[in-house]
């Protein structure tokens, strides 16, 4: 087999796994957008906040210790123990659910029936607020996140591909795990929304708020539910990205990568978010692979946005955007 083809295959595989990481972020956006028509600008910061909280719990950091020290002149930093990951993750989930309740209580409840743009502005505010709270709570330094997921090159893939093609592919083990976890996440979300009462209610609210109210579905509960789920998805994204490149402010910028994914896959489709993520991931890597000799690389930074632009021109509802049902 020619080398170029092998390299392209490797790039494709790498693209697929990278795409899963993008899809994880996009998923959180889709969930909230579907249920409430809000484009949640704070989704990226929620991932950062979740990752910060997880690291904080794991390392036994005292929340708001800087603030407490500044006010009372104390020297608190750590509880002096480490929380096992298996306990820290549920604790972080609880924090994300609490966050969802607070968001509903202090933001959404007061903006009922407002224009989407107003809700969008509110989420911008939420993003900055959460960013600040995250810093005050856990400190602004870069932290390493380790939940015990394997990292580095996968030897299995390397060996397998070496045996098949005589050339070992380099695939990050973390990204393979991310793909598996994302698959489980999507499967459970699908089962939840298709086969449970609350899932059905969620889809009903997405279709028609007023009608949902009229049959006795509580919008406030549904909002808490979607924001909780989006918070959990943010946690998963935060864990994956945090394990890969450390927990720091730039983690919240992964939201920007989700944007082209959403435009490609459609804002209302869970499978769209996945497929969109994969297309962007693969497209990015292959484009870079073939264009590198011509333009000298660094296309990864802009390829996704260019592709999104093309989609906006020719298929604005995305690949899987919800069809607007119109009877004639």
């Amino acid at each position: 087999m020619p080398d170029t083809l092998l390299f392209a295959m490797e790039a494709t595989l790498n693209g697929l796994t990278a795409g899963v990481m993008y899809a994880l972020v996009a998923l959180g956006f889709v969930l909230i957008f579907k249920a409430s028509g809000i484009f949640n600008f704070a989704q990226g910061v929620m991932a950062l906040f979740a990752a910060l909280t997880l690291v904080g719990f794991q390392s036994g950091q005292i929340p708001f210790s800087h603030l407490i020290n500044a006010i009372f002149g104390t020297r608190l930093h750590h509880f002096g123990w480490n929380m096992p990951t298996l306990l820290a993750i549920p604790a972080t989930v609880a924090v994300m659910i609490l966050l969802a309740i607070l968001v509903e209580r202090f933001i959404l409840k007061h903006l009922i029936n407002q224009e989407p743009i107003i809700l969008f502005m509110a989420t911008i505010g939420l993003a900055y607020f959460l960013e600040g709270v995250g810093d005050i709570m856990w400190g602004a330094e870069v932290k390493a996140l380790d939940v015990g997921l394997p990292k580095g090159m996968s030897d299995t893939v390397d060996e397998l591909t070496f045996n098949w093609f005589g050339y070992g592919f380099f695939i990050d083990r973390l990204e393979i795990w991310a793909a598996g976890i994302a698959a489980i996440l999507v499967a459970s979300l699908t089962i939840f929304s298709q086969y449970t009462k609350q899932g059905r209610a969620l889809r009903a609210v997405a279709d028609d708020h007023q009608a949902a109210l009229s049959v006795g579905i509580s919008l406030r509960f549904i909002w808490v539910l979607t924001w909780s789920i989006a918070g959990i998805v943010a946690l998963v994204a935060g864990i994956m990205w945090g394990s890969k490149s450390g927990v720091q402010f730039s983690l919240s910028l992964i939201a920007l990568k989700a944007l082209p994914v959403l435009i490609l896959g459609g804002f209302t489709s869970i499978p769209g978010a996945i497929v969109g993520g994969l297309i962007i991931g693969v497209g990015e890597k292959l484009f870079d692979f073939f264009m590198q000799p011509i333009v000298g690389g660094a296309t990864e930074n802009w390829f996704a946005y260019m592709l999104a632009l093309v989609f906006l021109l020719f298929r604005p509802q995305g690949l899987f955007g919800e069809k607007i049902i119109e009877r004639v």
């Binding site: 009922i112 059905r200 028609d208 009608a211 109210l213 009229s214 049959v215 049902i325």
Partner: protein
């Protein structure tokens, strides 16, 4: 058809309510009406008379449209229900079928029906029973149960909406403009099912209609609204035979008068110490 109202006790009493939208627009200016238990009560009037607002004030769906009841009381089953959460009202047996049907387009017909049972806590078996009952009244829905509601016909959507309301096992259904956009034959069919649900299942109906003719044939009592006020009330039979109603709403006159505004004598308002 059915002229005597089955019972005299009122299941619902609306006392001199005022409704404000957005804190400025006064949509209802003191509406009072009572709905006898086990009857079909029609709320008639033209566009913008306030029929829908009255129904939404009762079900408290106006809250999500930035409206509120600023005066008066709504007594359902002996309790004041002004400002109660729509979900609580559904639990207590009052459910609204909104104007324009409002089906969940991307859900199947059966899923639409099942969402109607959202507030019920009595288990899957009881809900499955209710579903069978709905299919019994609307056999057409059983045939279409796997179709996405958005792709079904207007009549099927209206049936879905009524069936969905039935799934909560209501004591009272607020039915807003069931005839909207439907062929006369279908309208007749829908009203027949409403009458059957009323007599066989004992469901009380308060229905808002522009189609005075059909509504007064199936209802027991009626109220006529204009400009956010009730201008006339009476048994369906009396209303049908009333010369002014005939003239204004049934189109059986050649005189130029078009509304109760021209006939001051019918102005009627219960005066409550509100």
């Amino acid at each position: 058809m059915l002229d005597a109202s089955p019972t005299q006790t009122a299941l619902l009493e609306v006392n001199n309510i005022e409704v404000l939208y957005n804190h400025v627009i006064l949509a209802l200016k003191g509406v009072s009406l009572d709905v006898p238990k086990g009857g079909i009560t029609a709320l008639l009037g033209g566009n913008g008379a306030g029929k829908s607002t009255t129904l939404k004030a009762i079900s408290n769906l106006i809250h999500s449209e930035r409206g509120e009841v600023t005066k008066g009381s709504i007594i359902y089953d002996g309790k004041n229900v002004v400002g109660l959460d729509p979900a609580d009202l559904v639990t207590n047996g009052v459910v609204q079928v909104m104007e324009g049907r409002h089906c969940f387009e991307h859900l199947t017909v059966e899923e639409n029906l099942l969402t109607g049972a959202y507030t019920r806590r009595d288990g899957r078996a009881a809900i499955a029973e209710e579903l069978e009952l709905v299919y019994q009244y609307f056999p057409r829905l059983k045939e279409r149960r796997k179709s996405q509601a958005g792709y079904t016909s207007g009549g099927e959507q209206q049936m879905t909406a009524i069936g969905r309301a039935l799934m909560s096992r209501p004591k009272m259904i607020l039915l807003d403009e069931p005839s909207m956009g439907l062929a006369p034959q279908l309208v007749e069919q829908i009203f027949e099912i409403v009458a059957r649900l009323n007599s066989e299942q004992g469901v009380t109906f308060l229905l808002a209609e522009q189609n005075t003719n059909v509504a007064l044939r199936y209802a027991h009592t009626g109220f006529i609204m204009e400009n956010g006020r009730i201008v006339m009330e009476g048994s369906a039979k009396d209303l049908r035979e009333n010369p002014d109603v005939k003239e204004f709403y049934l189109g059986m006159s050649d005189k130029g008068r078009k509304s109760f505004r021209d006939v001051r004598s019918y102005r009627r308002r219960k005066r409550w110490l509100a």
